[in-house]
Symmetry: C2
Subunit: 237 residues, 2 copies
Amino acid sequence: MEERPESYDPTRYERPSVTVDVVIFTLISQELHVLLVQRRHWPFKGFWAIPGGFINMDESLRDAARRELEEETGVRDVYLEQLYTFGDVGRDPRTRVLSVAYIAIVRADAQQIRASDESTDVGWFAVRELPECLAFDHDQILAYAISRLRSKLEYTTLAFQLLPEVFSILELKHIYEQILGEKLDKGNFYRKIKESDLLEETTLTREGRGRPTRLWRFRPERAGDKQFVFRWREDRK
Amino acid sequence: MEERPESYDPTRYERPSVTVDVVIFTLISQELHVLLVQRRHWPFKGFWAIPGGFINMDESLRDAARRELEEETGVRDVYLEQLYTFGDVGRDPRTRVLSVAYIAIVRADAQQIRASDESTDVGWFAVRELPECLAFDHDQILAYAISRLRSKLEYTTLAFQLLPEVFSILELKHIYEQILGEKLDKGNFYRKIKESDLLEETTLTREGRGRPTRLWRFRPERAGDKQFVFRWREDRK
DNA sequence: TATCATAGTGTTGAAGCTACACTATAGACA
DNA sequence: TGTCTATAGTGTAGCTTCAACACTATGATA
């Protein structure tokens, strides 16, 4: 803390406004999607934006993020992580606004609760087909969120958060393929995921055209405190 | 953004104060140190704290961090990275204060500029011998900064930022040993660092008791945009 | 009972890593 | 001037891991 007079009082200083914006991801038909809302008022009226809002003085940042998430999706208790705080000077034309951005991941089987509701200005967008231009610096926030998600999925067990409660190993492999942008070997994937001991076999199967699929459940308790256990590739040259 | 009236004006909302706090690391006699300042006024008068201060309305967060860093150390153009934003409700008794924390790494040969100056209330502390209790929630911030630094050092080239301009391979190995907390094989370390092609040989040597050491320089341009190139261990089970 | 489709397993050669023995080069000192 | 010591730096055998791909398993359908 630099030198201040004895009577220094931070309440007298000029203060920025602070919003919490939550980038909400989910998987819809095997594709990564993100939730955006369309703005109804100036500034950036009509533009798509990351859902968010100003913080209340009596709630923590995380609580604010949780509140926003629940307001938008009706979902609680999902993966939620602080991403970054954006604080350039001219990012909001109204006044100085800092944005504390969060990432949330909503399970594939839960996101229908308030999914793409035609009657409102809310929608899920595939990350491969995002709107051209977003409100404020939200392009930048979203790009950073996607890149962070990608890299975390590569060396953590976050991918499991995208899947429903119960899933097949090949569905999991498919997510990794999407994220890494390359085909993976079936046999090697099987061996690796089995060795990791992160999955619990269920009695369920799913029948289709060929041999029925055995279904599995993720055992987060086997991943330790952190999610840093299953990384598909050891080498990242 | 949730629904707001047409006339919604963020400037009318109650706003938090925002500080930028910079955890400044350096290496002193082969040990990781951090810079702390002693508070002169209420609250937490006499307690050690992470250097920081309130942001100005006309500077970005990063600029504020750079300004704090330069005020404390006189150093510019060093590694600087946003760590996390701390925003719990009661963390400052004066008013609601958010703290955007940054990490800075100052080269071992530069930090003397305004190092442990006896006449002021500023000091370098070895991370193994920190003060018992810091001001505000700075214990928490510092603990998080150290853990982030540790893990980034393991899989990035950040360790080079701690070393002076020119160094020997065994000095580099020593840093990795400190960070990882285990002995590394000399031969394997040599081979790996050579293969990475991150070092440029200099004509300098340093003479001592045995065979003189060849000195090397880090080539950041060979590490690509990101620092994510040299990771000592591929496996992190 | 053959065939198709998808699920899941085994195996081999190559690459990478670990551990450790080896060589190199300077100063000190008889 | 040779040899001893201390630290710098290299070579390599054997073990482990991994990528690629051939193989087997099981249910539906006709």
